[in-house]
Symmetry: D3
Subunit: 116 residues, 6 copies
């Protein structure tokens, strides 16, 4: 379901100490990932595009990993997102995100082989 957001360590630690902040972060996530008309997958592709356009390695990696693992988004679909990143944000952002995509896909495949 949409509401199932996997928070990083920083956010989870808010829960005890800064309850008001934790609650507003939860509410914000609920309001965002429950669009009126776009489905979760499309919103996720948009979030990948925004993270990649900033060459933000940490956010791009997190978005790509959960896109593939949780939503079943494919490598080809993410490359199509990165096409828009190349056009709007240039080569450094594109090339960095491409490398992140490749390494995430590789890591997931290795994980599957280990289990097999």
């Amino acid at each position: 379901m949409k509401g199932d957001v996997y928070y990083g360590k920083g956010i989870r630690e808010l829960e005890g100490e800064y309850t008001d902040l934790y609650e507003v972060v939860s509410d914000l996530n609920s309001a965002v990932w429950n669009g009126k008309v776009l489905d979760y997958k499309t919103q996720k592709l948009i979030a990948i595009g925004i993270a990649a356009s900033r060459a933000d390695a940490r956010a791009t990696k997190k978005q790509i990993r959960s896109a593939i693992e949780v939503l079943g988004i494919t490598k080809d679909e993410i490359v199509d997102v990165l096409r828009v990143v190349l056009l709007t944000s240039g080569m450094p952002a594109f090339s960095k995100s491409l490398q992140i995509l490749n390494s995430v896909v590789e890591a997931i495949e290795e994980g599957k082989e280990d289990k097999a």
Copy 2:
């Protein structure tokens, strides 16, 4: 068709004077908007998200206008893009883009009334 990109004045003027640049810009546009798996509309929503996340008024306006006029993307769909912008980029980018969206929608509706 996807290849039909409407260039701004700056790019159109490249055609005569800087032909090599004009050609590479055209090729870039063709390669970007012809993704393997995502449709044009989804790529456009991603482009809106990237422009809005930077609070880039000029690019956001251009993307939103062509999204509505050429691709028939609705206001509700763009608000769903802006939800992701609010989460990933904060209030100033969200609030600025929301105002641009409202003014573009208004301008288009007024245009229709004038013709009616």
Copy 3:
């Protein structure tokens, strides 16, 4: 009081049409401007610094105006914020914000004279 945030037009229009978004934006504002230990004025100075460091004219103007009009923050205090902007973000952001500060201060003073 802290909770008294003056929303721009874009946000106010959310209230009817996109109630869930309006509510989360309100909650976010409440959670932010009610810090545990810092007072509202210090948080406002931080918000000015962030807006100015991005050379975001619209947000800088809004923050500076409400800082002066609502919180009684002085020009000297804002120049001290802009010193940090000069160091961390360079001359274009500093010089743009300085001009915005000067024009806001001037406009407020003219407004007072008109009423006198």
Copy 4:
């Protein structure tokens, strides 16, 4: 005292080789951290906000560490800065800075225990 700025390695190495640059960097620091009216602590909180809003890990870590170690700024105060970052810059910048804050606080506490 305000003038006591702890330069990173890159800047310190300027001193011998690029004396004119070293001097202007020193003068810049002096002019910035000696505001007319705001105290050093408030200016430091603003510098943390600007670094965190850019999700600049290196600068955020440096600012937070010197804030705690040199100026005695508390974790709660920095969380109040990060509230403004959440509002103005979104979740990725907020969540990254929160993790940096947690790890810096932890490292400082471990250092104290080691000495005890």
Copy 5:
């Protein structure tokens, strides 16, 4: 000469009211535009590239105008700078800067005709 920097209105107004800031801004300009080995023109081309890569209309316009008027830099040279902007920063920054370049060149030529 290199030291001849034309300050905008905001900076000039510092001179009386915030003398220490005005002096450090002057010293900074002197230290920057007096490189050991690169000439002023090359440094100016770099400054144009940085401003344009951010799609910062105000700074791009100022840099381009003084490049052409004071240093005799040509349109072709600036287009070569913008090629690097296209590669590193994408189409919106490139297209916006190209339009600024065209309008500055046009305004300068009209100015010359008026005097003729």
Copy 6:
């Protein structure tokens, strides 16, 4: 020659799987690094300035290394680029880039000693 661009791993892997993207990236590089009037070295200095102004460690390192190794650009020349970065982008970007420059120069010198 100008056309000799050394792609990172991410881009090279495009060649087999996403041929259309690989081709447009190649064409883009050719169109950018073959300016009408500026030489390759000047364009490279501009690219360093843009990467450094964003405090983008990965891109700054790549640009600086190929500048020194392939084009024989000197440390003094790059410091002159970083002067412009200090002015336009502030201390964090300047100081980070300076450290990258120092470590790249050191690594290259160590490499030479190893071979000697």
